[in-house]
């Protein structure tokens, strides 16, 4: 097995045991980047020179028995909204053409301190305001969308051009591309991972989280990222945790909620079948399936938009007036239209969020997690703008992709997307596991036990 093919857990173990040098791993990943980037365009910037230098230092340290932390010598991609000192945070936008970050974001600093090495900054839909990431191609079919907005991060992990990556998620932007590219994505509980130094789309809804090849890999990264930072006003206090899923091989006693409404409506038949098979798989592992009714579904999109639209417009207030022509057409129109939303609509969304959070907490008393599709369809062709459902309704692709992931952003609950198979065209399908606030360990354990029943996941066959 070549180093770029290793999962994060396997690579970290091999480096710790002295079987693999950080130089070998970083060189292998960078060669893979060089070979595949012409087909994928997952990276906005590749920091090869800096990565090779860091790898040599990491190799010297490892040889001397000094390991910085659990991610020592592991190459990563960071979404191009996440500040790394001295590197541009271009946010997928001409608005940021001359940008240079002055300091590390909280997450970049934590990852650096744990030994991870930056391979590059990955493409995002402009300022994370979209579900496509048009610059980047799907890792399984380059004629199809990567999904977004963390499209570059998902594609890099799927193709082996990063051993892991970080994304951000305001309505599904980690989980959507994770599902569409066959990798694991976690949107943690709101406030668990600090956002200081990460370009905002919507303060009420933004989250930072990992994209990895396996669920076990998620636990390693989350343990490094989680924890209070006073520079993010939403940051939660709490002790450090070990998120590793442990050796348990079944899910006896776990109560898995299966939605009777919302999550299986207007969902592609192959996606539904794959997710229901995976849910049956959880039952076969000892879980008890419990039907649940998702509350207030009529108000999910309204609450999500009512929060996101005016907050995004507020963030861009100055540049939208100073240099509106630098924005892409779709993002500019949304930002301008956001100026027309009355404060009353924003407050209603905030109050609706209070109600929805309360109702979800009530629902989650009866189950330990909820299992559902991550997105209602697999990756569409790059020029497709709408999905026509069998009932005749027509839905914009971006609205369809965000529909099932947005509830976790509105309520703040954690959501883990895991691959559960492919459709007949060979495109990946994702299932999300939603838990109680700070219930990441439950999701990771269930996802890991499920994953172990499946054949080892291979990298996307890019070319």
């Amino acid at each position: 097995m070549r180093p770029y093919e290793l999962t994060l857990t396997a690579a970290a173990d091999a480096i710790r045991a002295g079987r693999l040098s950080p130089v070998e791993l970083v060189d292998s990943v960078l060669e893979r980047v060089e070979r595949l980037e012409p087909h994928l365009n997952a990276y906005a910037t590749v920091t090869a020179e800096r990565a090779r230098l860091a790898a040599r230092e990491a190799a010297d340290d490892a040889a001397a028995g000094r390991l910085r932390g659990p991610l020592h010598g592991i190459p990563m991609g960071l979404k191009d909204l996440i500040d790394v000192a001295g590197v541009a945070t271009a946010a997928g936008s001409r608005v940021r053409a001359d940008h240079r970050a002055q300091a590390d974001s909280a997450v970049a600093a934590r990852l650096g301190a744990s030994g991870a090495i930056l391979a590059g900054k990955t493409h995002t839909h402009e300022f994370a305001y979209g579900l496509i990431t048009p610059q980047t191609h799907n890792a399984w079919d380059t004629g199809r969308v990567a999904g977004g907005s963390s499209g570059g991060s998902a594609v890099a992990v799927a193709a082996g051009t990063a051993t892991f990556a970080l994304g951000t998620d305001t309505g599904g932007s980690i989980r959507v591309p994770a599902a569409l590219n066959g990798v694991v994505g976690l949107k943690p509980t709101y406030g668990l991972v600090p956002r200081h130094g990460v370009t905002s789309l919507s303060w009420s809804l933004d989250h930072v989280g990992p994209l990895t090849r396996t669920v076990e890999d998620q636990a390693l990264v989350l343990a490094v990222l989680a924890g209070h930072d006073p520079r993010d006003p939403a940051s939660l206090a709490g002790p450090a945790r070990d998120y590793r899923p442990g050796a348990s091989e079944d899910l006896t006693g776990l109560r898995v909620g299966v939605p009777r409404n919302y999550y299986f409506e207007r969902v592609d038949a192959q996606v539904e079948a794959a997710v229901r098979r995976a849910i049956d798989g959880l039952e076969a592992l000892g879980a008890r399936l419990v039907e649940v009714e998702i509350p207030m579904t009529r108000y999910i999109q309204a609450t999500h938009w009512g929060l996101m639209v005016p907050e995004a417009t507020a963030y861009h207030e100055r540049t939208l007036r100073a240099a509106p022509e630098l924005y892409q057409a779709d993002v500019r129109t949304l930002l301008e239209a956001g100026e027309l939303m009355p404060a009353g609509d924003y407050l209603r969304a905030q109050r609706s969020r209070t109600l929805m959070r309360r109702e979800w907490a009530r629902m989650l008393q009866d189950v330990d997690l909820i299992a559902a599709p991550t997105v209602p369809a697999t990756a569409v062709k790059a020029d497709e703008e709408v999905i026509t459902w069998p009932d005749g309704t027509v839905e914009a692709v971006s609205e369809a992709y965000v529909r099932l992931s947005a509830p976790a952003n509105v309520t703040g609950v954690p959501s883990l997307s895991v691959p559960v198979g492919h459709d007949t065209a060979g495109l990946p399908i994702g299932m999300q596991l939603l838990g109680r606030p700070l219930g990441e360990s439950v999701l990771l354990r269930a996802g890991h036990v499920y994953e172990r029943t499946r054949p080892a996941r291979e990298l996307a066959p890019v070319v």
Binding site: A234, Q301, L340
Partner: protein, 69 residues
């Protein structure tokens, strides 16, 4: 905004009141997007919120970081 369609001229006037001059070639697209957004968020008016406070939080003092989710 009424539930009737928003005209490009109305969009320009609303944007101007918000401090954003909208050139003529932007007005039709912005009016359509604003109308769509309005049609989505308007359903929140059906809810009876009673005494429900907004979810946004403010804490006086820098030492309180135990925000509930």
């Amino acid at each position: 905004m009424s539930t009737a369609g928003l005209t490009p001229e109305e969009a320009a006037r609303w944007a101007d009141r918000a401090g954003l001059p909208l050139p003529p070639d932007r007005r039709t697209a912005v009016a359509a997007a604003a109308q769509h957004i309005h049609s989505v968020v308007a359903v929140l008016r059906e809810l009876d919120f009673g005494d429900t406070p907004p979810a946004s939080v403010y804490r006086a003092g820098e030492e309180e970081h135990d925000a509930a989710v």
